[in-house]
């Protein structure tokens, strides 16, 4: 069954602790473009759009990869970075803008749920009795979730002048 990071954008404060944490875990460095979750903020930083893989049922990223670097797995598709050739076909294929691109490594960046216990969720509003913007949920995303993710992508692109919805 799918397992994924669910987003409630209304609770996001744009602190980007999730991005700094994700990149540190993945690369040993703090670098925004190495994060598999991206938070795009409105120009006045009053609204925020966290963007991350939804582990959708269609999974067009898998078919889009010309070298088979994205393999299906029960919870979420997994990207084999060693095989990735950096062509960005998966980045373009994802309807939710949820696959990033790391210009330093020259490779795609995709959420792997940290192997099961995503750190972004843990750092989101560390005040543990406060619900954060991120949570882990089981099962495929609902139609409402997918619609909301498309809305976030469009909104983020408009904040970024229509360009790539990438915070890095």
């Amino acid at each position: 069954m799918s397992r994924r990071v669910e987003v409630d954008a209304s609770r996001c404060t744009g602190c980007r602790a999730c991005m700094l944490t994700c990149s540190l875990r993945r690369t040993g460095e703090a670098r925004l473009s190495a994060s598999a979750i991206r938070v795009v903020s409105s120009p006045d930083e009053g609204q925020h759009a966290p963007i991350v893989c939804l582990a959708c049922s269609e999974r067009p990223c898998i078919a889009a990869c010309p070298v088979g670097a994205i393999v299906d797995a029960e919870e979420t598709p997994l990207l084999d970075v060693k095989r990735c050739i950096g062509c960005r076909a998966c980045v373009d294929a994802c309807p939710y803008g949820a696959i990033g691109f790391d210009p330093v490594a020259g490779k795609a960046v995709k959420c792997d749920l940290c192997g099961g216990d995503p750190l972004c969720v843990k750092v989101c509003n560390a005040a543990t009795t406060m619900p954060g913007a991120l949570s882990v949920v089981e099962g495929p995303p609902t139609e409402a979730s997918l619609q909301e993710a498309r809305r976030r992508r469009t909104e983020a692109a408009s904040w970024r002048g229509g360009g790539q919805a990438h915070a890095g």
Binding site: E29, A30, S33, V123, T129, G161, G168
Partner: protein
């Protein structure tokens, strides 16, 4: 991209950018790792650089006055609330040392652009903007930005650079026009506002700095740092004060403060605001003005609000208002309509004004008018009375653009304005050493009174927030016990007992937090965060052996150096003071009627504090105290200038 981490201490870039605006040149210099070991970063390195670069007696308005931007040592990492950046210079407002700290994401971008900090010297002829990216820096003409409010400045600079994600620090019209309390804005709503740092940026004709954070930060032991950061985030986040700051924001504290009759209104004439239920944090939410919460870089708390309203026929949307803004532009103005404090806060942010000084200067003017001492030609057509929201917005604009007459006068702040008006108007100027005091009622809270009097930059809450005696969270009670023993009388706000111990703890930890880039709300509000947690974060990032005591000692060293900076220019006991009204004009009504902090009370607290710090009775650091902090060269220089504390003159007790 150059490899910038080979010689750098973990979590830092190891590099400073030096900019000479007179010559139009930029230069990269590496930071001596020993300097990082001694001062960490942020406020620590700023204090050291300022001491080295500023000669005794320098005119703060001269181009030689350096303007420093230093990110915290742990900024741009997952350490909790670690995005603070320190801006420092010699203050044109006070003639003293000033550090002003700000949040947002500018510090993060500065570091990820490849620099721990920037040293700006000289002054440009025509307006310029500084751009930082990938370890490189360049100056661009900014004539097209000059005159723009903060939002338009940020927007246009991002457009010009083709980078909507650039983080921008800039001044508004306030800084351009030489308002004495102009802010450096680090986003639409994150301000480093106190004591004229934006005024100095304006004198340099530096409109903006854009940082593009494409780079990275490395760590000595990434896995250990990640584990430590997650653990310490949890410790901070679980504190009830952190949670309350998340839910209600800083302005959530207004109700309880007003209940205790410690919420100054009408220029500190009264201590209870009759409209507090309307003009306070709870009503932001209840009234539907609050539309979101805003987090600074890597924050665990997200205390900032985002508010939307309509006032005077115009829509206002933006960050805030914060507790102090509610005080200076709300309760202080006896405001009954919350919409105008939201609007006034946003106007200050867009024009680049310090809300505290702007509010208290307007309050001073209204009291002048009430007492009939303001000459009619200066007042002009302005209406000067309490609770007139639309007029408040007009006055703020008049100040930022220094309109001839009242705007020009109030742009100077209360100290200079009262000198110009005379007729004893200095008695109700709520300032000391030229800086308007922030809201805490220093006639009642003696810990705040002492902290404000000895604050290196003047009377406010941003070198120590000594709320400890009154907090009842488990962490606060435990810490108070540790510091003061089991002594119930220290828990009274109006007790002068052991205030020196309480203030010193807050000052030392606060300075260390400012140096690492951690927000003061992590360790001096949420008392769960202790110096040893900061040490663990630093150790994991750098591989150093460092413990909590070392961290507090670094904090103390920063304080000593900042003190020495003031002392070199003549600061002494006479300047460790509070606004006249706090010392001589008791509370007029309510349960605290008759209360004030008398000069004798303040003196008694100063004596004990000086002993603890190793200063003589005149407030000058002794050689022994400076050498204990490894500041031997500072002692030599003060000695040479005749400003070293005398061992013979030490207060009794040590």
């Amino acid at each position: 991209m150059p490899d910038r981490r080979s010689a750098a201490v973990g979590a830092t870039t190891g590099r400073l950018l030096w900019v000479d605006l007179s010559l139009g040149m930029t230069e990269l210099r590496s930071i001596d790792p020993n300097l990082v070991r001694e001062y960490l970063g942020g406020r620590g390195i700023a204090a050291k650089l300022l001491w080295d670069l500023v000669p005794q007696g320098l005119d703060p308005s001269s181009p030689e006055n350096p303007l420093l931007f230093l990110s915290g040592m742990l900024t741009a990492t997952p350490a909790p609330a670690s995005g603070r950046v320190t801006i420092a210079c010699k203050s044109p407002t006070t003639g003293l040392y000033v550090k002003s700290s700000g949040g947002g994401h500018f510090g993060e971008a500065l570091k990820l652009a490849g620099f721990d900090g920037i040293v700006i010297q000289g002054a440009a002829g025509d307006p310029v903007a500084l751009v930082l990216r990938d370890g490189e820096a360049w100056l661009e003409p900014a004539d097209d930005l000059w005159g723009l409010p903060v939002d338009r400045t940020i927007e246009r600079l991002r457009e010009k650079l083709g980078r909507p994600d650039a983080q921008v620090a800039c001044i508004g019209p306030g800084g351009e026009n030489g308002v004495g309390y102009a802010a450096v804005m680090l986003s639409h709503h994150n301000a480093a506002a106190r004591a004229g740092v934006g005024t100095v940026m304006g004198q340099k004709r530096l409109k903006a700095i854009a940082a593009i954070g494409d780079g990275s930060i490395g760590f000595h032991d990434p896995a250990r740092f990640l584990e430590t950061a997650l653990r310490v985030r949890r410790i901070v986040g679980e504190d009830p004060v952190s949670r309350s700051l998340f839910v209600f924001g800083t302005s959530g504290g207004i109700g309880p403060t007003n209940e205790k009759h410690r919420w100054p209104t009408r220029n500190f004439q009264f201590d209870h605001h009759r409209h507090a239920a309307e003009v306070g944090g709870e009503n932001l939410k209840r009234g539907g003005y609050l539309t979101g919460r805003v987090g600074c870089s890597s924050c665990t708390t997200s205390c900032h609000r985002y508010s939307v309203t309509e006032a005077d026929g115009k829509r206002y949307a933006g960050g805030g208002p914060e507790f102090e803004t509610f005080g200076s532009l709300g309760a202080g103005f006896d405001l009954s309509d919350i919409r105008y404090v939201i609007a006034a806060g946003i106007v200050c942010n867009q024009l680049g004004l310090d809300t505290i000084s702007a509010g208290l200067t307007i309050q001073w003017a209204i009291e002048c008018e009430e007492r009939g001492v303001l000459p009619a030609p200066i007042r002009g057509e302005y209406r000067l009375h309490w609770d007139d929201g639309p007029e408040l917005l007009r006055l703020l604009r008049a100040i930022a653009y220094r309109e001839p007459g009242l705007g020009d006068l109030l742009a100077e702040g209360t100290a200079r304005a009262s000198e110009a008006i005379g007729r004893e108007s200095w008695k109700w100027a709520i300032q000391a050493n030229g800086l308007e005091q922030s809201c805490p009622e220093t006639r009642i809270s003696k810990a705040y009174a002492l902290a404000f009097a000895v604050n290196p930059r003047g009377p406010d809450h941003l070198t120590a927030e000594p709320m400890l005696p009154e907090y009842t969270t488990p962490a606060a009670l435990e810490l108070l016990d540790e510091l003061c023993g089991d002594n119930p009388s220290v828990r009274r706000a109006d007790s002068t007992e052991m205030r020196e111990v309480i203030v010193r703890y807050h000052e030392d930890l606060y300075a260390a937090l400012d140096a690492t880039g951690l927000c003061a709300f992590t360790g001096t509000c949420a008392y769960t965060l202790r110096a040893e947690h900061v040490a663990e974060l630093i150790a994991a990032a750098t591989g150093w052996e460092i413990d909590g005591e070392d961290v507090l000692e670094i904090g103390a060293k920063i304080l000593q150096l900042e003190r020495a900076f003031g002392v070199r220019d003549g600061r002494d006991r006479a300047m460790d003071t509070l606004p006249w009204r706090v010392l001589h004009d008791p509370v007029r009504s309510g349960p605290n009627e008759g209360m004030m902090t008398s000069p004798e009370e303040l003196d008694a607290m100063l004596d004990k504090y000086y002993v603890l710090r190793g200063w003589d009775v005149c407030g000058l650091p002794t050689r022994a105290a400076l050498e204990r902090s490894g500041l031997d060269d500072v002692a030599d220089e003060l000695d040479k200038l005749g400003h070293l504390g005398s061992d013979e003159a030490r207060a009794p007790g040590e």
